[in-house]
């Protein structure tokens, strides 16, 4: 079983649309994992129906037991996040400001503060319209994606793939360069970098590739809207060449992407357009690289 992770560094490059296209092409040879939990949009194209779901906790939050609190205010003094204001005659924790460091609980002289697991969202195991299973999650507002949540989604997907005897796990990776994307990449067999020829697209590609390189994972790149800016596209081509990244495909700027999305479809499903063909070819290339 091989794990393919799609990442982009920057938002709005078409990463999710491209991942969904690969998912459509791979159909039931795979299990899909949506680790782009902050902007989990893949379900709009794959239309998963949940088979099971479970709450997800991450980090802890301070809670003050008012019946035991003696109002000494040491917790409020110690808190660097101003998360324990004195209001209406008592100290209470503002959940959005609490970082979960636990300092207050450690120094409370009467043990009135406890750190409780924070329920931050839910994860689901679903079946999709292509026949593939999909693992995805939904976070509450102000909750942060974490390496732990990404690891959870990926683990569940891998387990499902093993049980079902699937060839691939396809991961829609997290954005940025922090802990969630490190966790997205960890254990991957191949990385697909999606970028666009804009000044910010190139900049973010270079940053995120530093991580891929550190993990020594073989990588390929799909350039979306490749004809938008020839100059920047040429800079991306040079970068790929220097770093020995497989140049998988150049996709033209085409509003067919959006038209397909409006129908709730991936671009490879709408009648013949150059992008659909290029992505079919991309999927073949990725399979060849992975030796299947």
């Amino acid at each position: 079983m091989k794990e393919i992770v799609v990442i982009s560094g920057k938002g709005g490059t078409g990463k999710t649309s491209i991942t969904a296209s690969l998912a459509y092409l791979g159909a039931d040879s795979m299990v899909i994992a949506d680790c782009d939990v902050d902007a989990a949009d893949m379900h709009l194209l794959m239309r998963p129906e949940a088979v099971s779901s479970e709450g997800f906790t991450s980090g802890v939050l301070a809670v003050i037991d008012q019946s035991r609190c003696i109002g000494c205010g040491r917790c409020a003094q110690a808190c660097r996040y101003d998360a324990i204001p004195y209001r209406d005659g008592q100290y209470t924790v503002t959940p959005l400001d609490c970082e979960g460091c636990g300092y207050c609980a450690r120094i409370c002289p009467v043990g009135a503060i406890s750190m409780v697991d924070q329920l931050v969202g839910e994860w689901y195991l679903s079946t999709t319209r292509t026949g593939a299973s999909m693992v995805h999650a939904r976070l509450g507002i102000g909750a942060e994606n974490s390496g732990k949540l990404v690891a959870k989604v990926k683990n569940e997907a891998k387990q499902a793939a093993q049980e079902q005897g699937k060839q691939y796990v396809l991961v829609d990776g997290s954005p940025g360069i922090g802990c969630p994307v490190v966790s997205s990449l960890s254990g991957a067999d191949f990385v697909v970098l999606v970028t666009e020829p804009t000044v910010s697209g190139l900049h973010d590609l270079q940053r995120v590739y530093q991580l891929v390189k550190r993990f020594q994972i073989p990588a390929g790149c799909i350039i979306n809207k490749a004809d938008l800016n020839g100059e920047v596209a040429a800079q991306i081509h040079d970068f790929l060449k220097n770093e020995q990244i497989v140049h998988i495909a150049d996709l033209p700027y085409d509003e067919a992407f959006t038209r397909a999305m409006l129908e709730g479809k991936t671009i490879v499903e709408v009648s013949d357009n150059p992008i659909g063909e290029a992505l079919s070819d991309s999927w073949l290339q990725i399979q060849t690289i992975l030796g299947e």
Binding site: S146, K148, A151, G187, D189, R214, Q216
Partner: protein, 112 residues
């Protein structure tokens, strides 16, 4: 030589875990005595952030001469492991423990 592996289980036939910080187990093989010792790392792999340094600390205490893993430690864990004399070999992520050991003995694994 004591050789550590990041694994999915505690036996020769079990699969390697390609991840470092969030590996399920750390398995240490003592070549001289032909024995295994293991650490169940699943509690650590369930922490939101900072799994790498915690696993590195655990490994530090087990003090093997060699670590065999998949992708290699991330930045934080790598910095911690630099404090030790441990040699790190990567690229064994999709093998079993036995295959990883044999590949290492045959000099087929890359040093990180």
């Amino acid at each position: 030589m004591n050789i550590a592996f990041t694994t999915k289980g505690t036996d020769w036939k079990d699969a390697m875990d390609p991840r470092f910080g969030r590996a399920d187990y750390i398995l240490v093989y003592n070549e001289t005595e032909d024995t295994f010792s293991s650490f169940d790392n699943r509690a650590i792999s369930g922490t939101a952030h900072g799994a790498g340094p915690q696993t590195a600390q655990q490994l530090f205490e087990m003090n093997p001469d060699v670590l065999i893993t998949g992708n290699g430690p991330g930045g934080n864990a790598a910095a911690a492991l630099q404090r030790s004399q441990m040699k790190i070999f990567i690229g064994a992520g999709s093998m079993t423990v036995r295959e990883a050991y044999e590949a290492y003995k045959a000099g087929k694994l890359n040093q990180a």
